[in-house]
Subunit: 360 residues, 2 copies
């Protein structure tokens, strides 16, 4: 039994993998694999449309939003967002609460006028900025945040503080669909699929219609949100299999009870692991400030690099994989995305307690 | 028994699908699906490196070339090529022999100075330009061609005529690895995987080192070839499953006998279908001029739209799918990529003969 704590690509629901495997050689009696089917086939058009509909239903969004299935990862969005939405005379504001926000901000700086509205770099990305002290520019082209910083394990609350009136753009790569949230507060949300949504290879962009129309027209066709919207993500060949998998994962989320069920499941898992940290008398030191702790990525250190190495190798021997912290920060990171089971979280928590007893 | 003539995504080798299915739930004893594995795992690093090595071996290329696994399709390359390789003062030349070359040229026109060196639009994209009459600019940033026009079924010969001394850039989406060819004549080759190489979702770019270094530095990081080269295509999360599938297809090509075996197989298949056209006393009218005929996409018309509809529905009833011509040109198109079996081609050819007898 393997417990998969990979930060992304990450664990998928066993039922989804079983289904993909069962129908891989013959998709719904067509005699072909989904891997061999045209993106213009009625079967794929149905997958594409169903996935968009599931997403909008889970988010409670109506006709004023579109869901786009794109390629290139969240990193491509770091560039496409300013390219599409930051006009020559405008300014884009960024709040940076970790490494991914930093990258998004850096890419935008190459492409237009930007303003760093807030950064928590000074405290090592352990916290969230005090929203009341911020002065967002209502004239900004957009304000960009990262709802969950995967590397530092810092997450905004589902109910965000007031952040001004500029269109709110959010990188939700590592906490999309992990809990209910007021999606209509966002003008654009995006997420690489490979954490909560499916395998690597597709990026989900949820965008409000007015932003599509506002998009710059002097871009390459393939880089315009308008191109993807107008063509239902079928302007060119989409990553068929990845979208198919996302659709299966969305069905699984629905069957589990939707975002409310995900939130309950995720809170339960995170509580087990944070409890193992908090009851360790300081043997485990959480990275994030308690009020900024992520439900998705639990980051912590041990008293020494040597103990961290031992922790990882003993965990591996016990079937727990993917626990090494990001190479840029070290330490331990347990990623607890939707598909990670409560059993995996419980196994990790009890291993942590037992390890702390032995070495603490 | 289904005969899959899809233009892309297209047929894959049955042995490859069987293997992918067999190991989908547990990749090589890791207890995880390849869909759940980190792109930083040693397993994926091996896939990534092996796929690059296989490609270079099949093409006979050495250390002066790199293979990049990118996202966004060939359509994204239409933009990335001029973005990276066309400097402000330079000019890029295009030879347009069909719809895809047209799109590549249009995208480049938005991004810099271009020159249409030749176009066969006037004859409905049935032929190749007379290379001796061309005057390519040796100072051009690059010269772009489309080795096989998927929609019109027009293909350059494997041994290209002399095309001047500017770096040669080629869209090989629909005939990459279909036959041996002098790869070292090209400075950059690219192909969406979904025809000859694997499923949709990854684009293979083979680029000469000097072009990587020459690339513009003022682009978003994610749009630079240098970023992908420096990071072995792992700057950000790659489309893991699609690259895994490409690697399996490359192994299959090798096992079959490499590009020489592919050429023999492909020539045999195309001969069967063209022979059914040529022996039909004009019932089937091939689109491409005989000397420009594609081995990959056989395009033809019937005497009436009504007969074409009947042809498609009877073919479908007999298990032959994907034969409708592209929506922009109509008629029939049989795509005979590497993985399409000689049996499928023979089945189609005998259906064509029998259909012509009944309705001719
Ligand atoms: C929050 C966040 N943003 C962006 C990225 C980059 O995503 P991609 O690799 O799909 O470009 C990641 C990847 O881990 C992430 O966690
Ligand atoms: C020759 C050629 N170039 C480019 C494309 C566009 O490829 P993609 O859909 O991967 O962007 C195609 C797709 O069929 C093609 O056949
Ligand atoms: Mg992606
Ligand atoms: Mg696919
Ligand atoms: Mg592609
Ligand atoms: Mg994958």
């Amino acid at each position: 039994m393997i417990h998969n704590f990979n930060p992304g690509p990450a664990a998928l629901p066993p039922a989804v993998i079983a289904r993909a495997q069962a129908e891989l050689a013959d998709y719904h009696g067509t005699g072909m694999s989904i891997l061999e089917m045209s993106h213009r086939s009625k079967e794929y058009e149905a997958i594409n449309a169903t996935a968009e509909a599931h997403l909008k239903a889970l988010l409670g969004l109506g006709d004023d939003y579109r869901v786009l299935f794109m390629q290139g990862g969240a990193s491509m969005q770091f560039a496409l967002i300013p390219l599409n939405l930051l006009p020559a005379g405008g300014v884009a504001e960024y709040i940076v609460t970790g490494s991914w926000g930093e990258k998004a901000y850096e890419e935008a700086q190459r492409l237009g006028n930007t303003r760093l509205l807030a950064s928590t770099a000074a405290d090592g990305y352990r916290s969230l900025p005090d929203a009341e002290a911020l002065t967002p520019d209502p004239q900004a082209a957009y304000l960009h945040i990262t709802t969950n910083e995967t590397i530092q394990g810092v997450q905004w609350p589902a109910e965000l503080p007031e952040l001004g009136s500029a269109p709110l753009v959010a990188d939700m790569s590592s906490d999309f669909l992990a809990r209910p949230f007021p999606a209509e507060r966002f003008a654009l949300m995006y997420a690489g699929a490979q954490k909560n949504l499916g395998p690597a290879g597709v990026t989900v962009v949820v965008i409000r219609q007015d932003l599509i129309e506002r998009g710059r027209k002097d871009l390459p066709v393939i880089m315009r949100y308008a191109t993807f919207a107008k063509n239902n993500s079928l302007y060119n060949t989409p990553p068929v299999f990845a979208v198919y998998m996302v659709n299966l994962v969305l069905e699984w989320i629905k069957e589990q009870g939707g975002l409310v069920a995900m939130a309950e499941r995720n809170a339960r898992k995170a509580a087990m692991v944070y409890e193992a940290i908090d009851s360790s008398n300081g043997f485990y030191a959480g990275h994030a400030a308690p009020e900024a702790r992520s439900l998705m990525n639990v980051t912590f250190r041990l008293p020494s690099a040597e103990l961290e190495k031992r922790f990882l190798s003993e965990a591996q021997a016990a079937g727990m994989v993917g626990l090494a912290g990001h190479r840029s920060v070290g330490g331990i990171r347990a990623s607890l995305y939707n598909a990670v089971s409560p059993e995996s979280a419980a196994t990790l928590a009890s291993f942590m307690r037992e390890f702390a007893q032995r070495y603490g």
